[in-house]
Assembly symmetry: C2
Homo-oligomer: 193 residues x 2
């Protein structure tokens, strides 16, 4: 077992369940490692997303194009989190969204088929996955709430409160896009705070 | 075991896992039954949501008020589905959303504490819950996608495609509100199709 390669994944699991070395070893054998370059496209819209990614370092961005070709960031996956084009991966249907590596990103990735069988090899997985699914679902609900009820200024304040890292670490273009506002509005809000 | 009372819940489970009568009986003992009147408020924003609801008949609406007091429908729960103010229930924190019964609704409901322990009594529950969580999460992602990329006309078309029941069964006001468009725009779209 390569601690350096799988140490973060182990921590992800032990946050919620006990991990014995033998089943963890089988668990890890289902994952492969790779590095994406900065701005590399991981998945193009229209393709079926075959992999779930665990980000060891860097950041993946799930984004969509609207009818005018404008990009909208739907979801950001930072280190020590799982992420994918979720509907496409889970339903194995063509993805409406694309995935891009925003920074140089090191990931562990697992195929759809192996992912479906993870809980056979590692009984605690069902619980860990469910808990993190709840978190992602709540994040998406909060996103909907802010999109349908909150104006640009309050959306920025909410983001400052809930996710400072995102604002500090990512280019203004991406932050503006995530908030659904123009870069000019974002600069104005930043200078006002 | 009252088949009439718990038959739908049993079907919900047997869609995904095998159900033995003994553990199902313990499972059911955690639920209570009640009826909500048409338009009755089930949860007020600001309260902590204490219950998860399984709708036997009728429809629950999860909605929010924006700064101007305008209602926005976030989520609709029809029969044979579980629903709640999910972030509030799961995190046991005050809810941003309210819940209203749109029709006369018969529900089974379970407390937060009992819900957390369901998989101790009924081992298949973790899987059933996870599968339905995936569905709800995907629905919320599709909602975000339509809110950030799609215009009113296309949103209505998408809804026609994915959820005709909703359009047929609910008042225009609620449908318009769910789509984030005015009732006038909705009438225009309806007459054009």
């Amino acid at each position: 077992m390569d601690e350096n390669k799988f140490g973060q994944l182990k921590k992800y699991l032990t946050n919620h369940v006990a991990v014995d070395d033998e089943s963890f070893s089988v668990f890890c054998s289902k994952f492969k490692f790779r590095t994406f370059r900065r701005n590399e496209i991981v998945l193009k819209a229209g393709e079926i997303c075959s992999y779930m990614y665990f980000v060891k370092s860097g950041c993946l961005r799930v984004f969509m194009l609207d009818a005018e070709g404008k990009e909208s960031t739907r979801f950001l996956v930072f280190e020590n989190k799982f992420g994918t084009a979720f509907p496409s991966f889970t339903l194995q249907e063509p993805s409406l969204a694309s995935i891009q590596s925003l920074e140089t990103s090191e990931v562990l990735y697992i195929s759809y088929r192996d992912f479906q069988q993870l809980s056979d090899h590692f009984p605690g997985w069902e619980k860990v996955y469910r808990i993190n699914l709840e978190k992602d679902y709540i994040e998406s609900i909060k996103r909907i709430e802010s999109l349908i009820t909150v104006d640009a200024k309050d959306r920025y304040k909410l983001l400052l409160l809930n996710n400072q890292t995102l604002i500090k670490r990512l280019p203004s273009k991406i932050v503006a896009d995530y908030l659904g506002i123009s870069q000019e509005t974002l600069s104005r809000l930043k200078s006002k705070k």
